[in-house]
Subunit: 464 residues, 2 copies
């Protein structure tokens, strides 16, 4: 049986790419040119191109056409894994707190404000402006405690695509993901309780544990697949653990993606040991090859508390996140009410409109492409460093995890870099036990313009 026409074209283009007729980064002929050359309908050509794009062989760039993908450079994976640990109180030093505050921007040069605002952000801001003008008398009233229903409805729609039959009533809007994590820990734990965390894992969680007087027990996490479930199992057998904070999709700092079987295993352990599972999904929608289902989607017993926000994927200045608290949801809404009353209705309405108009989906698509491109550029740059390094090559998130030679002390490097105006995130921030001192989280969240490339080159000099 003859192949369909689009498949014939797909193969032709693929072998052209393979033979070097079009090299990595080169532009393919336009759709119109391909139609003419192969005597095909536009829809057929588009179909072939879409299939190649889905396979990662080519990339669409807005208003410029299709380009042959540049295979990302690969490094050996970082090898250093955390040792099994015992629960310990968390005490984050002042220097670490300073670094964390600076590192939240995910930028080597946080003072370098981007001049160009993506069209999606302009559209979002217009939606918020419209909501503000529509406001009428509502400036005299507080929003409802769980947050704006229209926004919660939009969130529910998004999560249906990620395997979870969510409803608006499952969501409570928060001032960002950090507040969601705070509320989740406040309602599930009491001072002195033990919480299992990933090592390396998000330092913001460690700060929360310190503030709330909770103890951390670190579970080794693989840079590729996240939390080591057999280590977790061992820990749960030894200690009375109350909750587990986990970031299954493109976790910071490594960008690890936890496979479905591991997720299932995690929930089984949670069931057996009566754990609250706090899912930090803030990078979940960033994946450019796939947007994984949420852990919450597998949660049959309402023990997963899903936390996330619009900060990483849309705007950090919205201060809009959400928490789906499962069996603790009512307590979470109550605590949010007591500790803050409500959020800004007009901001939520603006974002809800932006989602309903399709603006957010379109922005996300472009943003993922930007992140992929920026990640590839970073990997290319790291290959020029005059030292051996290992690095993760995440398929989502905003940063990768680099392992430098053992003798490198990235905390000392932080001080030297800061003198040169460069902000880095040293590895020991991601653990309470002083591990990962030769590791770095390196961000690809921002465009690699000349200033950032210069900063990165300067950094490589400081390392070597």
């Amino acid at each position: 049986m003859a192949l369909p026409r689009y498949q014939i074209l797909e193969q032709t283009l693929e072998s052209g790419i393979g033979s070097g007729r079009w090299r990595p980064g080169e532009r393919l002929p336009s759709i119109r040119a391909l139609c003419q050359e192969h005597s095909l309908a536009k829809v057929t050509v588009q179909h072939a191109l879409q299939r190649l794009e889905a396979r990662g062989l080519i990339e669409a760039r807005e208003r410029s056409g299709f380009f042959v993908s540049i295979p990302p450079r690969e490094f050996d994976a970082p090898q250093q894994v955390s040792a099994l640990d015992e629960p310990r109180p968390v005490s984050v030093s002042q220097i670490f707190q300073d670094i964390m505050t600076r590192s939240a921007a995910f930028d080597l040069l946080p003072d370098l404000l981007q001049d160009e605002v993506p069209a999606g952000i302009v559209q979002l801001n217009r939606s918020i402006g419209r909501a503000l003008r529509r406001q009428r008398g509502s400036f005299q009233y507080y929003d409802e405690p769980a947050g704006n229903p229209a926004l919660r409805h939009q969130l529910a729609l998004r999560f249906v695509k990620r395997g979870w039959g969510a409803e608006a009533s499952d969501f409570c809007i928060t001032s960002g993901c950090q507040q969601a994590l705070f509320l989740a820990l406040m309602v599930t734990c009491q001072r002195g309780d033990v919480v299992a965390v990933e090592a390396p894992g998000f330092y913001g969680v460690l700060q929360l544990l310190e503030q709330l007087g909770l103890k951390a027990v670190e579970i080794p996490a693989s840079p590729a697949t996240g939390m080591d479930l057999s280590a977790l199992e061992q820990t749960l057998a030894s200690w009375n653990v109350k909750a587990c904070v986990v970031s299954p999709s493109y976790a910071t700092p490594t960008g690890a993606l936890m496979p479905p079987e591991a997720r299932q295993h995690l929930l089984e352990l949670a069931e057996r040991h009566d754990l609250a599972v706090i899912e930090d999904d803030i990078y979940g929608e960033s994946g450019w090859l796939s947007v994984p289902d949420t852990l919450k989607a597998m949660d049959a017993s309402e023990r997963v508390i899903h936390c996330s926000s619009f900060s990483k994927m849309l705007s950090r200045d919205l201060r809009l996140g959400w928490v789906c608290g499962g069996r603790w949801h009512k307590d979470i809404v109550q605590l949010k009410l007591t500790s803050q009353l409500a959020g800004s209705r007009f901001v939520q309405e603006g974002v809800a409109e932006f989602c309903a108009d399709g603006g957010y989906a379109a922005f996300l698509k472009q943003h993922r492409q930007r992140l992929q491109l920026q990640r590839n550029q970073l990997l290319d740059e790291l290959a020029l460093w005059g030292t051996t390094l290992r690095a993760t090559a995440p398929q989502g998130g905003l940063a990768l995890w680099a392992e430098l030679p053992k003798h490198v002390d990235t905390l000392a490097l932080y001080g030297r870099a800061l003198e040169a105006g460069i902000v880095i995130t040293p590895g020991n921030l991601f653990s309470v036990s002083g591990q990962f001192s030769n590791c770095l989280r390196i961000s690809f969240a921002h465009p690699w313009n000349e200033q950032r490339l210069t900063a990165l080159a300067k950094l490589s000099q400081l390392v070597c």
Copy 2:
């Protein structure tokens, strides 16, 4: 020596008002007419009118001229005072929580959105819109932990007028006053600690104490002058009290204003017993006869934590408050950072611009007049109720405190009113010890349009 011309006119008008030539509520002749009748310059007439206005004899109404003030009706002051109590854990029932959520709007008819937006709010919204459009790359960065410096500078300027040489660095911006109170209690107290509160006092504080596992000890508060300092002294001698939450200026629910000597006494007691004094100043700027200095202005030893917000005086939808933490300020900023990272920069910038442009000061002036008018109307309406009642006549705030005959159970009344679509705030919400069951907080925060007047009349039927 002859009196200046403006004083002659002032006396003429005053005696005209006294003799009934112009009756309460009646419009005075226009400035132009007065100029012609008395052969005076416009500036002289204006001076006379301003003096009469300052003395409360007449009121300016925007674009309508000057009107003879209507002397507010007076009721006997409520008599019921709280008994001295011992510390007790707080447990707010679900029904109370529902009432509190509804009562936050300070409206008998919270579903009745006002159609007309005051010019000041339109101007504020424009400022926020401009800040949003100016935003450029900052959507990718978090605001600094203590909040926007321009807004903190504006706040400091405001407080200089209230007796306190504040600086921008004294402030930490929060998501409203409730979050400010939450942070203040989190950093000064630990689970099980005893906190002194006013009775009757703000129920939001009682909810916070419950959430944080703190014990309340109620200090009787006079409807006129606030917390009874000798009762506080007695309590401090008997119990180990960690903090005291106090609302010295136009406290909810009574609208009491604590005299300067009592404030001084409070701070002396705080010093002697090493108390943290948490000042809830949310109604401080609402006073139409005077805007009292803050308690913080008298604080020589950095033990007053000043908490407030723009919610009551400007817009509840901004979610913008602040906390000045004194000796605990650094801890408060750190806790805010850990639990929420930051606030929305564009909202803060918009409000800062609105303040700097003089928009906020102008709005406040009008808003105070509106509140005074609405309070007077409410007192008039209450005089028509077919029952004896006692009521406070506050000079600021958004509500008065009414004491109904002993047999009236306002909690039962709440249910009956709700069936009629009317939201009231029963007295027992303002105490943890079941007191004030025949009292009501009645709001004058919203214009007395026909619907609200009808609701108030309906309520009087339900009471009698």
